[in-house]
């Protein structure tokens, strides 16, 4: 098994013949189900129906009901049951129909699963995945980006892929990880992002960020949907002669401090970008790390761009106004470059 050195798939523009981001998720699940008999999937409507987004379409036929477990609507019990099965040596992969419903499993995640290994030893190799994010008119309950909550929980790992390559490679890493991993896939990217996928023996390591575009004048530190906004803005700014680096964090807990410091060292100017609400978001943690570890190298204040501090509204103009877009990313970068 080899870890990917540089993952393809970002910033290349859509290539119709290449697989989608969501296919990366499906492939990872299929391959892990095939290679490890302890892996099983559990969630609502994932069997007969193949999942609300059809991630597991056909899996019930392929793997049978002992590997693809349909449940009642019970996010808390699903997470709890996954934890119990993990204690018996299984590697359950939980699907949240929408990631917003993870709030119903909150206590099981933060108090039972996350603290278990620390308290009495056994590992809890569960993966909890589900569609997150906005830009789909999902409204206040189908647009959540909950990563910051989980990033404040010792014992959890949190990943958020931006490309099909990372989606596949990180999901395989998550499933094989002996710890509870929150895996946030972005539903806006599901069928909009295409690119190559790694083979069955490649994982994308948890804890490693990746420079998705190299640059020298300023850095955007981002993840998930933000990567694509940043790449778009960087491409536009390149036409004006600016060289912007885009660092994709990929893993949000643990953060790749080394990569964060490296990009600051390189450019001296940082824009932190994420789709989750600004206040209390992961951006604060990244800014604090920079303030502490790369203070001397900063040529400008660390800027943050994120969703407004509001629920994500339903109607088009409202949603657009609340969520980040490439134009605002470019504007923020321009003011940073001018500093």
């Amino acid at each position: 098994m080899r870890a990917a050195e540089q993952s393809p798939g970002a910033g290349q523009g859509p290539q119709a013949e290449e697989p989608t981001y969501i296919q990366g998720i499906t492939e990872a699940l299929r391959e892990e189900l095939q290679s490890d008999p302890n892996v099983f999937l559990i969630g609502e409507d994932i069997g007969t129906y193949g999942g609300a987004f059809k991630v597991t379409k056909g899996f019930l036929q392929e793997f049978g009901p002992a590997r693809i477990v349909d449940t009642p609507i019970s996010e808390s019990a699903i997470v709890g049951a996954a934890t119990g099965a993990a204690l018996m040596g299984m590697r359950p992969v939980v699907e949240m129909q929408f990631i917003d419903f993870i709030s119903c499993g909150w206590n099981q995640i933060v108090n039972m699963a996350a603290k278990l290994h620390y308290r009495w030893g056994p590992s809890v190799p569960i993966t909890i995945r589900g569609p997150s994010g906005g830009y789909t008119h999902g409204g206040p309950f189908h647009s959540e980006n909950p990563e910051a909550w989980f990033c404040h929980v010792p014992g959890l790992k949190v990943v958020a892929p931006s490309t099909g390559w990372d989606a596949k490679g990180l999901l395989k890493a998550a499933i094989r990880d002996p710890n509870p991993v929150i895996y946030l896939e972005h539903k806006f990217l599901y069928r909009r992002i295409r690119g190559p996928l790694p083979g069955p023996d490649t994982v994308v390591p948890i804890g490693k960020a990746e420079v998705k575009r190299a640059g020298t004048d300023a850095s955007v530190i981002t993840y998930g949907s933000g990567v694509h906004l940043a790449l778009e803005a960087a491409a536009e700014l390149a036409r004006q002669g600016h060289s912007v680096e885009v660092l994709d964090l990929r893993t949000l807990r643990p953060l790749d401090l080394e990569a964060i410091v490296a990009t600051v060292e390189k450019t001296g100017k940082v824009l932190i970008l994420h789709e989750a609400h600004l206040t209390g978001g992961v951006g604060g943690e990244v800014a604090a790390l920079i303030a502490e570890h790369a203070f001397e190298r900063l040529d400008a204040p660390v800027m943050r761009l994120a969703s407004a501090d509001t629920p994500v509204p339903y109607s088009d103009a409202l949603e657009q106004f609340v969520l980040p877009d490439a134009a605002r990313v470019r504007q923020a970068l321009e003011s940073l470059l001018d500093y």
């Binding site: 129906y49 009642p72 709030s103 119903c104 008119h137 189908h142 629920p311 339903y314 088009d316 609340v322």
Partner: protein, 374 residues
């Protein structure tokens, strides 16, 4: 709100209530009301103190419910609704019959398939369309979609997507009534699927032990998204859950609007008189997919055909006609009134403005109060 709803004539309807819970064999379907002879249990003549006008109004509201849902479906297919669109075809009797048993001072918390509840409580049709269409004129001003709307002046509390979360909230509404000694009732709805979620249990248990004026209508429509009831719950009936909370559990034919109305009215009266909550299971069928995007390929066609025969609107209409409670001209007048109202409201809502982007930043916090203002 029809004044008629205040009618207090004693009901002779005896909703089926079986008190011995049976363990269902796995795989067996949950019990369903018998097909055929619709509304057969009701005596002849204008039943149970409902006036002719009220009986007509029930039909009107069900027709409006269906026409509204159908129009929403059309708007969705036309790409005019950008979010989810959930229909309630086949379940109109559940929404209308239950909401019709409430009084204006009562408070209800409808769920996504309860457009009929919202219409019965009297929300202006145009504003209702506007909510699906994301317009500034809707009760949420475009901040939320579909039936996710509330209007306290109509006693409507908005749901959130998270199933069963409304149950403790409406229990809390009932708690306020009880603490203040008001004779008001809180009611909400839940699906067969939503009954599996923790808040169903916590809310109903609290309502039971505090004897709150609270009614929960559980619409057992055979499916939760793609999940059949047999994979959702092993109880013989969902109403069997009531015993665990020390409250009455009633199972009723959810496709019989009068049966629903009377069962709920009894529960509402019981609650109003301080005798605590009731769980009412209305057995019905979701006649379309989970939402507009879902063709429900997982539902056996025979099952749908079977339930088609029990269509709540056709049954009720036939019954009214058979008993000479409605004339043909009256029928036609109703049909065209519904069509006219839907057309007009939809047209108006489509012409209504969208909210302005920057307004999205306002109203996260309520103003006023010392903490906020100083």
């Amino acid at each position: 709100m029809p004044a008629a709803r205040r009618s207090r004539a004693a009901s002779t309807a005896a909703p089926t209530r079986r008190s011995a819970p049976a363990v269902r064999r796995p795989g067996a379907a949950h019990p369903q009301p018998a097909a055929g002879s619709p509304l057969a249990a009701h005596p002849s003549g204008p039943p149970f103190g409902l006036t002719r006008d009220q009986l007509h109004r029930l039909l009107y509201l069900m027709l409006l419910n269906r026409a509204f849902d159908d129009r929403i479906s059309t708007l969705y297919r036309q790409g005019k609704i950008s979010g989810g669109a959930f229909g309630s075809r086949g379940q109109e009797a559940c929404s209308v019959g239950s909401a019709f048993a409430t009084q204006p001072q009562d408070v209800v918390g409808p769920m996504i398939r309860n457009s009929g509840v919202i219409l019965t409580r009297g929300l202006d049709l145009r504003r209702f369309f506007a909510n699906y269409l994301g317009r500034a004129t809707s009760p949420t001003g475009g901040r939320d979609g579909n039936t996710h709307l509330g209007d306290l002046s109509l006693g409507i509390v908005a749901p959130i997507s998270h199933l069963s979360a409304l149950i403790p909230v409406l229990a809390g509404v009932a708690l306020a009534f009880k603490l203040r000694g008001e004779k008001r009732v809180a009611m909400t709805w839940i699906g067969d699927g939503g009954s599996s979620v923790g808040d169903f249990h916590e809310g109903l248990n609290m309502a039971g032990v505090m004897r709150l004026p609270f009614v929960l209508v559980l619409e057992n429509n055979q499916y939760a998204y793609s999940t059949p009831t047999a994979s959702q719950c092993a109880a013989a009936r969902f109403a069997d859950k009531a015993a665990g909370y020390g409250i009455p559990g009633v199972t009723v034919d959810g496709n019989d609007v009068l049966a629903v109305y009377f069962a709920v009215r009894q529960a509402v009266e019981r609650a109003r008189e301080g005798n605590g909550p009731t769980l009412i299971e209305a057995v019905t069928m979701r006649m379309k997919g989970h939402a507009e995007h879902d063709d429900a390929g997982y539902v056996p066609k025979a099952l749908v055909a079977e339930w088609e025969k029990r269509d709540p609107i056709a049954r009720y209409r036939q019954w009214l006609v058979a008993r000479k409670l409605m004339t043909q001209p009256e029928e036609h007048a109703l049909d065209s009134r519904v069509a006219r109202e839907i057309d007009l409201a939809c047209e108006q809502a489509l012409a209504d403005p969208f909210p302005e982007g920057p307004s999205a930043l306002t109203g996260v916090y309520a103003e006023g109060g010392p903490g906020a203002s100083r």
